[in-house]
């Protein structure tokens, strides 16, 4: 349980705490939800990076959420912690995971080559959207860890939607 007394009637543990400031919850959910609502980046790419960043942070509350329809395979899930040596990730997934790996603790180590590798596969708007996604995955882990939000295992249709739930 978080050391904050969250709202009892909230739809998720994350919303129970962020909902203590309702306007901020609504706007944060709209920002994060825009990633998923507008299909800016392929959902499997987002889901792989989200879970990878959660693993780097050791954030069980983020890892406990699973995006059911993202298209991530069981083999990929099993190999995610050692993705560089695994053969089940596509070139664009590998480029995205390379950037995701650096986001939590090595963001100064991102190179021109890291971004160029993404631009081989993605348009500039998609590169921007993916970069925003990685920062939000990182931020979500930090929020959950700092606020000590308990894991809630959920298989969800979508991790967030502007007019839905922020899991």
């Amino acid at each position: 349980m978080s050391w904050l007394h969250g709202l009892a009637e909230a739809s998720s543990a994350f919303e129970a705490v962020l909902g203590l400031h309702p306007e901020l919850l609504q706007l944060y959910r709209a920002f994060y939800g825009a990633l998923w609502d507008h299909h800016l980046v392929a959902p499997n790419l987002l889901e792989l990076c989200r879970l990878r960043i959660a693993a780097i942070h050791g954030c069980e509350a983020e890892r406990a959420i699973r995006h059911a329809a993202a298209g991530v395979t069981d083999a990929q899930l099993a190999a995610l912690d050692r993705w560089r040596a695994a053969g089940c990730f596509s070139p664009v997934e590998r480029a995205a995971l390379a950037l995701a790996d650096k986001m939590p603790w090595e963001h100064h180590g991102v190179t021109d080559e890291d971004v160029a590798a993404l631009r081989v596969h993605l348009t500039d708007p998609q590169v921007v959207a993916l970069t925003v996604a990685l920062t939000l995955f990182d931020a979500n882990c930090r929020l959950r860890l700092v606020l000590d939000i308990a894991p809630q295992h959920r298989l969800v249709e979508i991790p967030a939607a502007a007019h839905g739930v922020l899991y």
Partner: protein
């Protein structure tokens, strides 16, 4: 650090922010960030001290 932009700016955009590449994200971001600075539960001094301290800790010259 890169010596050149890794993603080019959007021509004729009203800011240099690369978020202009993705209008739905840009709009949602400015609403959130604007709320943070326009209203919110904390006074401006506290938020500004935290912003500057965070920029220094993360070594963000921008």
């Amino acid at each position: 650090m890169s010596s050149r932009p890794r993603v080019p700016p959007v021509p004729a955009a009203h800011t240099a922010s690369r978020l202009a590449h993705v209008p739905p994200l840009e709009a949602a971001f400015w609403k959130l960030y604007g709320e943070l600075w326009s209203h919110g539960a904390l006074d401006h001094r506290t938020k500004e001290v935290a912003r500057i301290r965070n920029a220094r800790v993360t070594n963000c010259g921008l």
